[in-house]
Symmetry: C2
Subunit: 272 residues, 2 copies
């Protein structure tokens, strides 16, 4: 089952001149919806709004339309994906200031993750595909230029929950659809995303909450050897919240106390 | 005036689930069409075909449909843009092997460039926006992840013909919509595009022809100081062929004998 609206109208198509299609000229947000309401909607909207500002897209305030459509859909657990593009123009990169952005909202039933995910942790692959090193204007944004993620996702079929991507310098950046956290020597460590990667909403929640409860947090450069020496590993995204990692290729991890605590504090009752 | 066909059918819309829109998951070719036929069509098709192979997109052989549509359009001078995407899928990067690619052909009248372009050379801007350093699987391809070019094009309005982009190391890579050539000490020099940039069709023609007529060619690393010391500068793309550069920001250039020769040999009677 799927619901789609384009610019608030009942439609499942867009112009082939849409710059999202022509150039990947836009942004997106993916949100878990529970009981007809998107989780962390203010944070998702703030990231989208910041992205639009940085790209120079004048996104209309569609918060009411988006939340109303999600409420009408009414499924107990759904996933909403909101795409905002710069709009439709004739051939060429140039875009007149009068062009109006397009927005596309898709709502589908939430995926069901096997409960084993919370028991033993998921299997994760180390991908060969590298993330793009973008212009600093693009770093951290959830923009529509996602070919590296598409290629990385082609490296496995069903046998892994996600794949980890590194940059050209061999630094761990993120999962294909998630952010990465390690626990080592009692501290929480996650890659610095100043130069590339997507700054996730749950990633920030994990950092904020961890600091609040006295867990030492390091946003830093991480390499493969840090992964090898980690005591616990977990991934975050906006659909499943936090998922413990049981293995990355040959490396094995247990679900330790830090992951268990964050799962209980931040995810229980919302994501599962 | 504009003609659009989607998968060979008379349509100007595509599914919002098209992966070109969702992820920029596809490729494109832009071709000048003269007298109802695309210029250098075998070369454009070969690049598209190579791109599809590298991305794992099984593009059907639509050469006959594309050339027939261009012939039917019949304008003496037109520009055809062919977009091929991996197809339409539900949410997520994963794509089942059964998914069929979508192709979109748009034909518009060719733009008219002022004749001054050939007389005095065009004005070009040095952009602040950096090209993305992609995974090697993507380097050189004319893929749909074009946000750096979109941002670069926002740096000027009408006052420049194109803008030059550099990589994170300060090396000149390409124009926003073109490849870059310098002439210095009698040799032709163009940036090496092994790591990033689009390998243009006219770029390759210029290199092949120059070698054939005894002009020394260097595909190499170029920095701003090379531009400062160049005797001649020109840009290439598939719509205008070769255009001499009269200035890059404060630096001024004359249309020298090498540019004039290549214009005469490769462009006269085709592009102007």
């Amino acid at each position: 089952m799927r619901f789609v609206t384009v610019n608030g109208e009942d439609s499942a198509v867009c112009s082939v001149l849409d710059r999202g299609l022509q150039f990947g000229d836009g942004l997106f947000e993916t949100m878990l919806c529970v009981g007809g309401a998107p989780v962390d909607f203010p944070e998702h909207w703030a990231r989208l709004d910041e992205g639009c500002r940085r790209l120079g897209i004048e996104c209309p305030d569609i918060r009411r339309e988006v939340t109303a459509a999600i409420a009408r859909w009414g499924a107990p657990r759904a996933v909403a994906k909101l795409v905002v593009t710069r709009g439709s123009t004739e051939r060429g990169y140039r875009c007149a200031p009068s062009v109006r952005p397009n927005w596309i909202l898709t709502i589908t039933d939430a995926p069901k993750y096997p409960l084993a995910h919370e028991d033993r942790g998921v299997a994760v692959k180390l991908c060969r595909t590298l993330v793009s090193l973008d212009d600093p204007q693009l770093a951290g944004l959830k923009h529509l230029n996602r070919l590296p993620q598409v290629l990385a996702r082609r490296e496995w079929d069903d046998e892994y929950h996600d794949g980890l991507l590194t940059d050209h310098g061999g630094h761990l950046v993120e999962g294909c659809t998630s952010n990465l956290f390690l626990v080592a020597d009692g501290a929480l460590r996650t890659p610095d995303l100043t130069a590339c990667g997507v700054r996730g909403i749950v990633r920030q929640k994990v950092l904020d909450h961890s600091k609040a409860i006295g867990i030492r947090c390091e946003v830093t450069t991480l390499k493969l050897r840090d992964l090898e020496h980690a005591d616990e590993v977990f991934l975050t995204n906006s659909v499943y919240g936090i998922v413990p990692v049981g293995s990355v290729d040959g490396m094995r991890y247990r679900i330790g106390p830090t992951t268990a605590r964050l799962l209980k504090d931040l995810c229980q009752g919302v994501y599962f």
